[in-house]
């Protein structure tokens, strides 16, 4: 086995993020103050974005790396871009947030990059081992980030639940890998599993292995019934970290699922039929969006409501995965558009939530948001646009994301019920998103809101709102980018 220079160049975005993460960690211990590590991390993100663009402009054909451990293709590069932008936005929001709440750690910046590097490994993975390494790198960094606000007891509680259930999920992943390895005659690469799947599809141990892997991944995207950790972890985490978990980490896990289900377990004998994963995943998608939305209706805490909303979105995303299993044309680019729109919206929403709180006064209840439109009309308007995008109301990116995923699913008559359920669910979700809007516009202010000055938050909020609106008015460029990510063989 050898390593060609071309492979290192192809993987440069991932290597840059990892390397800059290590350097930021060291720089933080050497330099005075937190600013150098922050600047280095941000510069690293920009450089990695340029590297992604460079790869995109390049050959465009998919390229296996290190004997098929990883792959560089259009889908991976598209999601790399989303993940790096999510990391950059998190850094921009986290720095002022931590300063305001007086718990600034330099490690925070390095950990955001490590989580991103793990997520990028997941979307590049074409081998069960690299998938596991990516998932674990991403999760370990996320556990620490959730617990990083040490004065906050809720953070420790959320982090512990996240850690215990995450470790449990990792156990599922490893056990599933072992079963698949054993029943396919020693295959762990997706291509190898796909080649042996036809023979192994009626072996109960192989099916069990596939479902164990699926379970492990569903934990990570917080699908019902594996969502228990999500509301506590989302609520306890520092708000910028919650934004990263709801955007970057979810995007990476869904990207990993697209590859795993779209190649390794795409065999019709395994996917379709009574016990096929398409049917099971359809049921889980229904349960996830319904439970997420119903539970969100009852929340008074904005962060917790958004946590349940993110569970509901995992349900919508799984409709795309089910369509992928039915071999529907265009399911994969539709998912990518959804992920991009959802990530941008989520980052913007959590930026507002992070901005609203002051030291010792986090203002997380909906009634704390009363009358915000009067004191800060621009922020209230931005929040309204972002919430409408989460609800899927045109003209926002959230609408087109849902539109493409549902349209792809409609091509299969078996999935019509799921799409109808999803549309009804979206209608339900409008209620709780609008509760925040009503509080901001039609309630008298309880306490005046004084946001702390922050250029970083303003930039992130402005950019996410522009992106969300642009995606809703002219979705074509991003749709074409996502379609360029369509790769049928890997």
């Amino acid at each position: 086995m050898t390593i060609a220079a071309a492979q290192i160049v192809a993987l440069s975005p991932l290597l840059m993020i990892t390397g800059v993460g290590c350097l930021a960690l060291l720089l933080d211990t050497m330099a005075k103050g937190r600013a150098p590590a922050l600047w280095l991390a941000q510069l690293g993100c920009v450089a990695a974005l340029l590297a992604v663009a460079n790869q995109w402009m390049g050959s465009g054909s998919s390229q296996p790396i290190w004997s098929g451990m990883l792959i560089v293709d259009r889908m991976a590069l598209f999601l790399d871009g989303v993940l790096i932008i999510a990391a950059l936005a998190t850094l921009l929001v986290a720095a002022p947030f931590m300063r305001e709440h007086e718990f600034e750690h330099g490690e925070h910046y390095a950990l955001v990059l490590f989580a991103t590097a793990g997520g990028m490994t997941v979307v590049h993975a074409t081998h069960l081992l690299s998938l596991l390494i990516g998932i674990e790198t991403m999760s370990l960094a996320a556990y620490l980030l959730v617990a990083s606000w040490r004065r906050q007891p809720a953070g420790a509680e959320g982090a512990l639940k996240y850690l215990l259930l995450g470790a449990f999920a990792a156990g599922f992943l490893v056990y599933g890998t072992a079963l698949v390895y054993g029943t396919t005659g020693g295959e762990m690469s997706y291509a190898g599993i796909a080649a042996r799947a036809a023979r192994a599809a009626d072996n109960p141990l192989f099916i069990m292995g596939a479902y164990f892997l699926l379970t492990g991944m569903l934990f990570k995207i917080a699908a019902v019934p594996f969502h228990m950790w999500a509301p506590d972890a989302y609520e306890g985490a520092p708000t910028p970290v919650t934004g990263l978990m709801a955007s970057g980490i979810k995007v990476a896990a869904v990207g990993g699922l697209v590859r795993l289900l779209g190649s390794a377990f795409a065999n019709p004998g395994l996917a379709l039929g009574h016990a096929g994963w398409v049917r099971v995943l359809g049921g889980i998608a229904f349960a996830t969006m319904t439970w997420g939305n119903l539970a969100a209706l009852r929340q008074e805490n904005v962060k917790r409501m958004l946590a349940y909303s993110s569970i509901a979105h995992a349900g919508y995303l799984m409709i795309g995965l089910v369509a992928l299993g039915q071999k529907v044309d265009g399911a994969q680019p539709a998912l990518l558009v959804y992920l991009a729109a959802y990530a941008a919206t989520t980052l913007g929403v959590f930026t507002v939530v992070a901005w609203v709180g002051r030291r010792d006064d986090e203002r997380l209840l909906i009634r704390d948001w009363a009358g915000m439109a009067r004191t800060r009309p621009a922020v209230a308007l931005a929040m309204t646009v972002l919430l409408l995008s989460l609800a899927g109301v045109p003209p926002t990116g959230g609408f087109f994301g849902k539109f493409y995923v549902f349209r792809a699913a409609m091509q299969s008559p078996d999935l019509a019920w799921l799409v109808v359920a999803a549309v009804l669910n979206s209608l339900v979700s409008v209620y709780y998103y609008l509760r925040i809007v009503v509080a901001m516009y039609f309630r008298d202010p309880v306490r005046p809101w004084q946001p702390f000055p922050s250029v970083g938050m303003a930039i992130v909020l402005f950019v996410t709102v522009v992106v969300v609106l642009a995606l809703g008015v002219v979705p074509r460029p991003v749709v074409e980018l996502a379609a360029g990510g369509l790769v049928t063989h890997w």
Binding site: C22, L26, M30
Partner: protein, 133 residues
């Protein structure tokens, strides 16, 4: 196939058998003199009665965690050393010797691994997690 299982069964039988034989010997042949100190639950002599909430210096935890982290990472060197010949060969090994050119993959991978380890070491060093105070 069958002989593998016979070997495994022999190993299990030997293991269990030795445990049974030694316990039986100690029980029936050995001499026993009962003293109070021998009857308390912890043979190390710690007093079993008292508050379980003893305050432990937190300094033990970093030491334990760092030991675990670096110890496990050092364990990765063994499989690498065993496979060094095939990792350093550009082609497959033929009867244990390399006919193709030299590949730097084996050395490079470990250098990268050690570099990451050094980053961690430098980090804990600068954070004063290694010293006792």
């Amino acid at each position: 196939m069958g002989s593998d299982y016979i070997a495994a069964a022999l190993a299990i039988l030997t293991g269990v058998g030795m445990a049974v034989v030694f316990s039986a010997l100690a029980r029936f042949v050995g001499e026993r003199r009962v003293t109070r100190a021998k009857q308390i639950p912890y043979e190390a002599g710690s007093d079993p009665v008292g508050s379980p909430r003893v305050r432990m210096p937190v300094r033990f935890y970093p030491v334990a965690i760092l030991f675990l982290a670096f110890d496990i990472e050092v364990a990765f060197l063994y499989p690498w050393a065993v496979n060094f010949a095939s990792l350093s060969c550009a082609g497959p090994l033929v009867k244990g010797t390399c006919r193709a050119g030299v590949s730097w993959l084996g050395l490079g991978a470990l250098a990268l691994f050690m570099a990451v380890l050094l980053v961690a070491l430098a980090y804990v060093w600068r954070k004063r997690a290694i010293g006792w105070d």
